[in-house]
């Protein structure tokens, strides 16, 4: 703003005209008001320009799926897809449940019990995202014949993270247990994920 310099070059009489009672010039006020208002406008326009990159309504509409689990025998798992991400639904054998329960919680990197990760009375149904919490690869162990890692759960081949039978991180670089999505049994054989 060149207003200050101009005011200095003005004659004394015009200075008196433009100076208010407390030495605040009307021109300064109108400049600040105009530029501030333009800033408000720019911010208001920036909002939709940024927000358009968020997931659109059709993507958000993929938020929940229903999975029929009746065909999964104990010891088996299936891969399904929720929000374009793999989801593992695993029917744990009693031995796997027992193994998960006997681990000392305090020794875990991300302490959680199997009960906290499953639904009451359905502790054998482990539902997790098939997304390694390290950098997002799909761990092995859901399909028959795949390596299950040192702890019999899942193994991520990208960077060597081992998950146990409750999908908890036990060894390797991943910081957290495999994420358990929001899910519920809407009948004995149908799981609603999301």
């Amino acid at each position: 703003m060149a207003t200050v310099e101009q005011a200095e070059s003005m004659t004394e009489t015009s200075k008196v005209e433009t100076l208010g009672e407390e030495g605040v010039r009307r021109r300064d006020f109108i400049h600040i008001a105009a530029v501030s208002w333009a800033g408000v406008g720019a911010a208001a326009v920036a909002l939709p320009l940024v927000n358009q990159m968020n997931p659109s309504a059709d993507v958000r509409a993929l938020a929940s799926i229903e999975v029929d689990v009746s065909a999964i025998e104990p010891g088996q798992a299936i891969k399904t897809s929720w929000r374009k991400q793999p989801v593992f639904v695993r029917n744990l054998t009693p031995a796997e449940v027992a193994e998960a329960n006997k681990v000392a919680i305090g020794s875990l990197r991300d302490p959680q019990t199997l009960a906290e990760r499953t639904k009451p009375g359905k502790e054998n149904w482990l539902v997790t995202l098939g997304v390694c919490t390290h950098l997002g690869c799909v761990p092995l162990g859901a399909a028959a014949g795949e390596v299950k890692g040192e702890f019999g759960g899942y193994f991520c081949p990208c960077h060597g993270s081992h998950y146990d039978t409750a999908g908890r991180i036990r060894k390797g670089p991943a910081p957290l247990n495999l994420e358990v999505p929001e899910f519920a049994f809407i009948s004995d054989t149908v799981v609603k994920i999301g």
């Binding site: 939709p48 358009q52 990159m53 968020n54």
Partner: protein, 421 residues
């Protein structure tokens, strides 16, 4: 590049000084649109429209880049992806309507900018290059707008592409092969849509480049002004900033207000409802018209109804339509009057307001009306006047006109007093 009394850039902050010594970008901006560019003190609001056109281009580029994040150029998916933008993408309706109406507003301000130049003689020496680059920008804008209109792949998109590429088939011998080459097929299809998308994304940046040349060329003689009298002394000018940044800022506020009013409350006012019907290569809409900014040229295209001197009417129409823009390249040498501003040219002024302006309006009306009956005749008369205005009337008026006395200087025109030495 500027007048000797232009303010010199003096960085206040040591960081700016450091930058300026290594890359004088702040100095460049200061000399281009800051306090270092002396501008005639008497510019009226018609001189806002160059800046407004620049803002319109930036709005188109920003909204366009964003729309391209959600659009896909496929004959099966393009129409649906536009509907996806309208319904699903967060704020997508706003971005698309802003882009759609932004194109119209870009043309509105550019047309006012062009007619400002026509009336005030801004195309005359030493500013011919600015004018020539301006015509190039105008042609690029038309190509960009046309290809953008094809992208939603609605009925008007498809048939617009069919008709416009049909222009090229009028060229003898090579016409039809040329058209097939442009389309990558025998009718607009996937190949055409994909290349139109690619070029529609490219051309705005080409326009931006030519705009930089346009502004560069402008800064050599400096801005023209409503008297057409060249700047002589320092008292004829004021620094661009703050005087014209403030004036352009006000004009920009008015422009944006009208722009958002249309975008929010009448977004489809300037569009055609048929383009909300998916493209159907087997059925032409009953009445196809281009977007409003092409109407006058469309009228000239359709004005030729009979073959003439063995030249088919189809070719004549295409030649006339391109010629109506091409002749603007010769305007600086057709109007030989030494007086620039129409304000001091009584005869020129009459032909401008009562000849050229009504002629363009009539052409625009004929362009949107069906090509039948009186509209053809009216379009032919107005089209004939358009060419006569530039090719016959302007050169003659330049010779016979007795112009009014020009003020001795801009300062004298503004204050009534001669400029102090």
């Amino acid at each position: 590049m500027s007048f000797p009394w232009a303010n010199e850039y003096k960085p206040q902050h040591p960081v700016m000084q450091w930058v300026d010594e290594r890359l004088p970008l702040p100095r460049f901006v200061y000399n281009a649109i800051g306090g270092g560019y002396p501008v005639p003190r008497n510019l009226n609001y018609f001189w806002n429209f160059g800046v407004l056109a620049g803002v319109a281009l930036v709005i188109q580029i920003i909204t366009g880049i964003i729309l391209a994040m959600h659009y896909y150029a496929s004959v099966d998916g393009a129409f649906n992806s536009v509907e996806h933008i309208m319904r699903d993408v967060n704020g997508g309706w706003f971005l698309r309507y802003a882009h759609m109406n932004g194109a119209s507003f870009f043309f509105i301000v550019v047309y006012i900018h062009i007619f400002r130049g026509l009336y005030f003689g801004s195309y005359k020496a030493p500013r011919e290059m600015i004018w020539l680059l301006g015509v190039v920008i105008f042609l690029l804008m038309m190509a960009t707008a046309f290809m953008g209109y094809v992208l939603p792949w609605g009925q008007m998109s498809f048939w617009g592409a069919q008709v416009i590429t049909g222009f090229f088939s009028a060229i003898p011998v090579v016409g039809e092969p040329l058209r097939q080459w442009l389309l990558g097929g025998f009718a607009p299809d996937q190949a055409a849509l994909n290349r139109f998308f690619s070029l529609h994304y490219l051309l705005p940046f080409v326009i931006l480049g030519v705009v930089i040349l346009h502004v560069w060329a402008l800064h050599i003689p400096g801005s023209s002004n409503p008297t057409g009298v060249e700047v002589k002394t320092e008292s004829d000018t004021v620094p661009f900033h703050p005087y014209y940044t403030a004036k352009d800022g006000f004009g920009l506020g008015v422009f944006l207000t009208i722009f958002v009013l249309v975008t929010f409350f009448a977004p489809n006012m300037l569009g055609h409802p048929d383009n909300y019907i998916p493209a159907n290569p087997l059925s032409t809409p009953a009445h196809i018209v281009p977007e409003w900014y092409f109407w006058p040229f469309y009228a000239i295209l359709r004005a030729f109804t009979v073959d003439f001197l063995f030249i088919p009417a189809k070719l004549l129409g295409v030649i006339a339509m391109f010629g109506s823009i091409a002749l603007l390249f010769f305007l600086p040498w057709l109007d030989t009057s030494p007086v620039r501003s129409g304000n001091y040219r009584p005869l020129f002024k009459k032909f401008f307001w009562f000849g050229l302006i009504p002629c363009i309006i009539i052409l625009a009306i004929c362009g949107v009306k069906p090509a039948e009956g009186k509209w053809i005749l009216l379009g032919q008369l107005a089209g004939a006047y358009y060419f006569a205005h530039f090719l016959i009337i302007l050169p003659i008026v330049s010779r016979i006109e007795k112009t009014e006395a020009l003020p001795n200087s801009i300062t004298e025109a503004v204050t009534g007093q001669p400029a102090a030495a």
